[in-house]
Chain length 221, copies 2
């Protein structure tokens, strides 16, 4: 009985890991659409979201069934409850990737990002993809040490986000207001994507150890 | 036994309603800080967040205890699971209000919003406060009809958000890039605040009726 339950819990976490992998793949493709003004990549990113959405639905149903069909003990319950919260974060990560792709599509064939900032966005994309991959690992292993590491990994994103504003605020910014507005929103999407990965890290610490990391702590950045 | 359980569920929803009221009050104060460059209001908004955060912790603990101490039946389970998800949305709404207050504090004593857009932001603030108040009502009554209405109420916010971009993109925009960047982020905070209210509406529809409104539907806007 307990063994079946644990198999089902593992299957649920497996769906979450799959969602994280999908979010990472979407982010890689969205960044390519953005930096290389590639319309096909933009369309692909947007259309693959449906798959993430159906994985989210499946995870929620499985979690619900685990709660309603079998009375979980405390540790198992933490896992199911955390899984339900993690689904929202993963779904949001995938949505943010589609926002980036939509921006690339909107301005196509013009580039959204001025030439000298393309490298900056590639770096943000690399960090975001790395965080999604690390999130997938964390969901597969439920290793609290690795989960805590996500917060440190996010520092590089925060730094890039901050330095971008310094560029925009420079009085010599030559690309006008529209480009500044686009870049402000785009960099916000990357930064929020990373925040959600950190939030998932905090949830996994909770499910693995019972230590509650407060919303305030992981939303503070 | 069942009666005690239902009293505890009602108490849990009561905490959520209180969080919604707090988020609305924070948004009202943050908007005042922004439109009237009021430093005291900005500081107050930021410091009152701690209270929301402790309410969130309390709600999560109560929800967890309801799951672990008593085996809920399906309808009750839906309520507890939805409550856990709603906590995250409400917490985020309060965080977004602090972001607005922080922007007002950062530029003080200078105004963040150019004079001719102050009315625009007052309107966004009014809609946000209205949505928070409506969310509180929905959490108190669990009325699915009123919960669905939140989505329609959000249309006015989407319209204001869109029209702001038209103003920013006007080639004659006289306030420079810094103001444009500030306004882009600020308007995004208002728009996301409203989105979370809509998401809570979808959760309440689910807890009241069992109809799942997909993440995609309420994140689409």
């Amino acid at each position: 009985m307990r063994e079946t339950y644990h198999r089902k819990l593992a299957a649920l976490l497996g769906i979450l890991a799959q969602m994280a992998a999908e979010a990472g793949a979407a982010m890689r493709q969205a960044t390519y659409a953005l930096t290389d003004a590639d319309l096909w990549a933009a369309e692909e990113t947007i259309s693959r979201y449906d798959h993430v959405s159906s994985l989210a639905r499946e995870a929620e149903e499985q979690a619900f069934n685990l709660l309603v069909l079998q009375a979980p003990v405390a540790g198992e319950l933490r896992t199911v409850v955390s899984a339900l919260q993690i689904v929202s974060d993963l779904d949001r990560m995938a949505v943010l990737a589609t926002h980036i792709a939509t921006a690339a599509r909107r301005r196509h064939p013009n580039p959204v990002v001025p030439h000298e900032l393309v490298g900056h966005f590639r770096q943000m994309g690399d960090i975001a993809v790395h965080l999604a991959d690390a999130t997938r690992d964390v969901l597969e292993t439920c290793d609290p040490g690795r989960a805590r590491q996500l917060d440190a990994d996010d520092d590089a994103m925060d730094e890039l986000y901050g330095s971008l504003f310094a560029v925009l605020m420079n009085p010599g910014w030559p690309h006008g207001v529209q480009a500044a507005v686009d870049i402000t929103l785009l960099s916000r999407y990357y930064e929020r994507f990373a925040d959600h990965a950190v939030a998932i890290g905090a949830r996994v610490v909770f499910l693995a150890t019972g230590d509650l990391v407060s919303e305030a702590d992981f939303h503070a950045s």
